[in-house]
Symmetry: C2
Subunit: 345 residues, 2 copies
C-alpha cells in the first residue's frame, strides 16, 4: 500500500480537517474537533437550525470533479437550507466516506471547505471519516431569532410569490456535466453547442451555488413562508402550499432566466428546466402585498435579483398562466430522488 | 422498475421516518422533519453536544444484517459519544444512502431506530436520503450542564483510570460476524467453536451496544476526564493522555472480560482484543482518588460494572504492568480506520 493510503484516520483529521483554517475558533463554539462530541452554545433568544445533505459520487457530482469544487457544493447546498429558514450559519460537521486517503484530493477538498467556511464564519466542529464509496454528509447548524424563522406553513391568500436569482441553470448544469437528469426525454438541448464561456457559467452554477443568506438575513422577517427550491419550483412550492393549505397561480412569463440559459434553450425546455429541473439553490418565498415594495427595495440594496412570479390563492394545487392569463398544462414532475422516472444508479 | 423502488424520496421520508413513533414531539424541539431545517432550543445553562458517526455497509456492518439491528447499532454508537461527554440525548438526524427503496428493509430499519429513540427520548428531527451504496450517517445532539461536560483534557496525576463494562467483546464480534478486523494475525481464535449462546452474545454486543448514558448521568460530574473507547483502549486512553499532557500505568490483570470472551480466548488474545480491538462502546474515565469510593457506590446503585485498571502519572505514554508490577511490552496498534494494516474495502 502506498504512503498516501497508509494515513490513519486521526492523521487525516489532524492534517486536513482540524486545521485552524477550517476548524477556526468562533464565539459560542465551546469545543470543536478533538473530543467525543463538539460543544456549542445557543443564545437564549435564538433557535438552532440544523440541516443535513448527503452527496454521493457519480449521482450528486462527477467522481472526477475538482475536490475543492465538490467541497464547495457540498457545503453551499447545506447553507442554502439555512437561508430558507432565514437562519445564519454557525458551524458544520462532516461525514466523509473515501475509497482511499489520497493526499492531493484531501488537500484540495479541505481547501474548498475552508474557503466557504471562512466566507460565512462557519467553522467545521466535528464529524467522522471512513473508508468506502465516496460520499459526503454535511450537517450545518445556524442561528435564527426565535420569532423570525421562515417556515413553509404561513403563506396566506393574496401573498405574492417570489423567487431569488435565475431558474433552470441547475438542470442545464446536470446535462452539461454528464450527470443523470430525472427529467429524461422531457428536457434536452444541444449541450455540445455550448460556448466555452457558457459551459463555465453552468459549471459554476453547479459547483458554486450562492446560498441566498444575505437576502434571507435582510428580508427574512417579511417572508410569510420560504423554501429552498433545490428539488424544482413546482415540487418545492407544493410543499409551501401543502404546509399552508393554500393554492397558487404562477405566471409563466415571469419566470427569471440567466442569459446563458436563454442563449442555449428554446422556450419549452426553459420552462421545464425552471419548473421541474431542480438543483437551483434559490429561495421561493411569499410576501404579503403591503411588504412587496419593501422586499424589492431590500433586494435591490444588496444586489440580489428577486422576481414576483405569482400569487397565493385559496384552494389546492398550482395553476400556470400564460401571458394572456389562460391556464397552461404541464405533465412533468418535480425532482424526486427515488422517483421511478429517475434512472437507477 | 418494481413498485418498491418507485417510491419518491418524499414518500419514503413520510412513510418510514416522519412517523410519530420515530419523529415524536419533545420539549424544546420547535420544528422537526418537514421544513428546510429542524429548529431546536437549548436551555441557557446547557451546552449542545453534537457527534456524527458514519457506518458503511460491509465495513461497519454485514450488508445482509437485520436492518433493525443495523439501525440500532448506528444510533447506539452515536449515543455512546454523548455518554463520553456526560451529555444526555436530545435529538438526532439521519443521512441514509440506499441502493434502492426496499419497503421491508426500510420498515425494519425504521422500527430499529424508533425503538432506541423512544428508549432515550431522542426523536429523529431531520436528515436526507439518497440513492447510492448503503451507508448511514447519524448526527446525535445532546444536552450537558455547562460546567459538567466530561472532556478528555483534565486528567491529573494520581487519578484512577476506570473502564465501564467488559473489554474485547467488540473485537470477537467482528471476527464472529465475518467483518475485517484491523488486528489481522495478531488476533485469532476458533470462531467455529463458539457455542450458539456465545455467538448470540457477541452478535448482541455488536448490534446492541449499551451506551453508558446512565453511568455518565449519575457520575459524570466526578469524572476528571472521559472518552468512548470504540477505537480500542490503548488508542483512546492515549487521546486522554495527550489532551491532558499526562502518562498512565495500566494493570493488565485488572482488565475486565465477559464470561463468553473468557470461555473462547486464551490470555494473550484476550489482552490484544481488550487493548487494541476497539468496537467496545464503553467509557474510559479518570476519577480523583478522593472520589473513587463515591464512583463505585454510584455504579453499584445503577448496576453498571466499573473497573479500576490503572493510574494517571506524570510523563508520556502508557506502561503496562503484570501482576508482579513488572512492565510488559505490546507492539500491536490501536484501531485506525485508514491504517495500513487494515485491509482495503
Amino acid at each position: 500500500m502506498d504512503k498516501s493510503s497508509s494515513q490513519s484516520e486521526f492523521e487525516i483529521i489532524r492534517r486536513y480537517f482540524a486545521s485552524s483554517n477550517l476548524s477556526f475558533k468562533r464565539d459560542g463554539i465551546e469545543l470543536g474537533i478533538g473530543d467525543d462530541a463538539a460543544l456549542i452554545d445557543v443564545p437564549e433568544n435564538k433557535h438552532l437550525a440544523m440541516s443535513m445533505d448527503v452527496l454521493v459520487s457519480g449521482i450528486h457530482f462527477p467522481a472526477d470533479a475538482d475536490p475543492a469544487l465538490i467541497a464547495n457544493r457540498a457545503l453551499a447546498v447545506n447553507l442554502s437550507d439555512l437561508a430558507a429558514m432565514a437562519a445564519q450559519p454557525y458551524c458544520f460537521t462532516l461525514g466523509l466516506v473515501l475509497p482511499d486517503s489520497d493526499e492531493i484530493w484531501l488537500q484540495r477538498f479541505s481547501e474548498g471547505l475552508a474557503s466557504l467556511a471562512r466566507q460565512y464564519n462557519c467553522p467545521l466542529v466535528g464529524g467522522d471519516t471512513s473508508r468506502g464509496p465516496l460520499s459526503i454528509s454535511i450537517q450545518v447548524q445556524g442561528l435564527v431569532d426565535r420569532s423570525q424563522a421562515a417556515r413553509r406553513s404561513a403563506a396566506s391568500s393574496g401573498d405574492k410569490i417570489y423567487v431569488s436569482g435565475n431558474l433552470g441553470d441547475g438542470a442545464v448544469a446536470l446535462l452539461a456535466l454528464g450527470l443523470d437528469s430525472h427529467l429524461g426525454d422531457s428536457f434536452s438541448f444541444g449541450v455540445q453547442s455550448l460556448s466555452d464561456q457558457d459551459r463555465q457559467y453552468f459549471s459554476d452554477a453547479f459547483f458554486k451555488p450562492q446560498p441566498q443568506l444575505e437576502l434571507a438575513d435582510a428580508a427574512g422577517k417579511i417572508f410569510s413562508s420560504c423554501i429552498d427550491i433545490s428539488d424544482g419550483l413546482q415540487g418545492d412550492l407544493g410543499h409551501i402550499l401543502a404546509a399552508s393549505s393554500m393554492a397558487a397561480t404562477i405566471n409563466i412569463d415571469a419566470l427569471p432566466y440567466s442569459m446563458p440559459s436563454q442563449r442555449c434553450m428554446d422556450t419549452e425546455n426553459r420552462i421545464v428546466a425552471a419548473l421541474f429541473g431542480g438543483d437551483d439553490y434559490q429561495l421561493c418565498f411569499t410576501v404579503p402585498g403591503r411588504d412587496c415594495a419593501e422586499l424589492e427595495r431590500l433586494a435591490r440594496d444588496i444586489g440580489v435579483r428577486v422576481s414576483s412570479i405569482g400569487e397565493i390563492v385559496s384552494g389546492e394545487g398550482v395553476v400556470y398562466l400564460d401571458s394572456d392569463g389562460a391556464p397552461v398544462d404541464f405533465s412533468a414532475r418535480a425532482y424526486q430522488h427515488f422517483a421511478s422516472i429517475q434512472p437507477a444508479c
